[in-house]
Point group: C2
Amino acid sequence: MNLPKAMKALIQKHDGYAGDNERSGFSLEALDPYVELAEIDLPSPDKGQVLMKVARAAVNPSDVMFIKGMYGQPLRKGLPAGFEGCGTVVAAGAGAEGLDGMRVAFVAGRSGFGSWAEYAVADAAMCIPLIDGVSDEDGASMIVNPLTALAMLSIVKEAGSKSFIVTAAASQLCKLIIGQAAADGLSAIGIVRRDEQIDLLKGHGAAHVLNQKADDFDERIAEICRVERPLILLDAVAGPSSSTAFHAMGRGARWVIYGRLEEEPPVLHEPGELIFLQKRIEGFWLTGWLASASEKERTAMAMQAQSNFASGRWKTDVTAVVSLDDASGRLPDALGEPNGKVLLAP
Amino acid sequence: MNLPKAMKALIQKHDGYAGDNERSGFSLEALDPYVELAEIDLPSPDKGQVLMKVARAAVNPSDVMFIKGMYGQPLRKGLPAGFEGCGTVVAAGAGAEGLDGMRVAFVAGRSGFGSWAEYAVADAAMCIPLIDGVSDEDGASMIVNPLTALAMLSIVKEAGSKSFIVTAAASQLCKLIIGQAAADGLSAIGIVRRDEQIDLLKGHGAAHVLNQKADDFDERIAEICRVERPLILLDAVAGPSSSTAFHAMGRGARWVIYGRLEEEPPVLHEPGELIFLQKRIEGFWLTGWLASASEKERTAMAMQAQSNFASGRWKTDVTAVVSLDDASGRLPDALGEPNGKVLLAP
C-alpha cells in the first residue's frame, strides 16, 4: 500500500508528570496547554505491532487526565496523544501479518503513537477485529469504557452486593454499567445533575435515579440505602455529594473513586465510620486492574463487550465528531456536553 | 469473704447509640453528660465469670468514645462504664474458681459491669493473672493498648513495610508501638504537636519525630517519606496534618484511622492518588480486629504484652490517678495532659 511520509496528529507538548495540574481537576478547560496540531513522520510498526489508518478516535476522561499529566503515566513530548480508536490495518510488523487489511478496535499506548492522529500504532494483542454489525462509532469506544464497566461490575459482585451507587450516572461509561447491571439482576442507584437525565437512565435500567441538586437529595439517598443496602459507590465525581452518598451507606461500604469532576475536594466528615462501620475509600484504575486480572478474565471481558455492542444491549451515544483541525477550538466545549461521547475523525 | 451489698460506680446515663455525638470528636469536653457517680448493688459473677475488687481502672480513648455512644457498641443505662482495669478476684462463678484470690488484669465489657467502679465483673477468659514484677499501674493497661499496638504492628509487617508513620505519637499507645517497632527493626516516624516530645520519643526508639506545627513540616515529612517509604499511616488524629502525611506517602500507601483528635475533618485534596497510586483509606477497630484474628494470634499477643511489661521494654507512664469522687471535676482536664495515661483509683 502506498503510504504517505507524514501525517497530522495532536502531539503532546510536555514530558514526564504533572506538577500543579494535579489540583486542576479532571475536566478540560482548554486543549492548547497540553497538545498541539502538528505534522510528524509516519511511524512504522515494530515486531508484533500494526499501523492503522484511524477512522475514529475516542476522547475519554482518561485521555484528558493523561494529557494533563495526571494519569500515572509519563507524557512523551512530540508523540500523538489518544489511547483508543478504530481503523484499518495498513501495515503489520513481523508476527502481526494476520491483521493486515482488517478493521479493528485498538488501544495504543505502549507504542507511544496514539489514536489522535491520521495513523496510529498498536500491539497486535491490543487489537480486536470488528464484525460488520459494529459501527466505527461503537468501534472507537470498544475497549476502555466497556472493560472499565465490566471490571467495576466485577467489584460489585465480588463484594456480594446486590446494589451499588454510580455518580455522574449519565456518562457513556455509566450507561454501559447500568445496562449490564440490569441484565445481571443488580440494582443500580444513579446520581445525576439534571432532572432530564432521570427518565433517560431509568430507560437504561437503573433502579433509582436521584438529582444531587434536589432539596431532598440527602434524605432520599439515605432512604434508598436503607432499603437497597449498596456496598459499592462507583464515583467519578469525588465531591461533596459523593461524601453524602458514602455517609448514607452502611457497614462495610466501599467508596471507589475513579475520576474527579468536582473542583471542591471531598471532606471526610465521619472518620468514625471507617473505624466502627469498617467502611473504606479506595481508587479504581483500569490499567492497574487489568495488570492484576488474569489473561482469561481479560479475554472473557473483551468478548462480552463485543457481544454487547453486536446485540444492541450497548450502544455508543455520540454527542460530537470533531476533526483534528477543529480540536483546539471545539473539543473543550464538546466535552462539556452531557450524556455522550466525543470522537475525533482524523 | 465479707463483701458489701453496694458499691460506688460511674454509671452510664444513656441507652443505645450516639446521635449527634458522632460529630463532636473523640475528646472529652465534660464527663457529666455521659456518666454519673452512683451507688448501685454489688454484682455477682455468673458461670465462668469473676468479681474483682478494682485496684486501678484505665481511662482509654475507647472508653471516651464508648460513653459518648461512638464505639459501635450500645450504651447500657445504669451500668458502670470502663473497659479495662486490674484488681483482686474476690468471688468466682462456677468454672472460674481457679482465679479466686489472684491479682489480675482484665477487660470487662460483655458482663456490662465495667471497671469504673469499686467492683467489676469479667469473663475468666478475659483475665490475665499478674506476676509480682508488674505494678497496678502497668496492670491496669495490660490489654487494650498492648493488643492494639501489636495488632497495628502486624498490619505494618503484613504490608511488607519497613517503616510507618504514627500521629499523636506521644500517646501511651504510640510509645508502646514505637518501643516494639524498634525491637522489630522497623523505622517509626512519629508526628507530635510539641517540641519537647521529640527527644522523648527518640529515646523510645523512634527513627524520626516531627512537630506538625513546624514551618517546614510539609517539606520534612515529604523528604522522610522519599527516604523511608512508609506504607502505613497509623492515625489517631484524622485532621489536616494527617492529610499532609498521607499525601507525602508513595504508591500503595494506606491511611489507617483509629481515632479523631482534631475537630476539623480531613479533606481529600488528591483523590487522584487513590486512583493512580493505589492508595487507600480505612479504619482500625480493636474489637473487629480481635474478632477476625485467630485464638492463637490473640493468645500470642497477650503473652508478648505481659513479657514486654515484665522485661521493662514497655512501661505505663501515668499522668494522673483520679478517684471516682473526683472524676467529674478532674477527668476532662487530666485527659488533656500529654504524654501519658489517666487511671481511676476506686
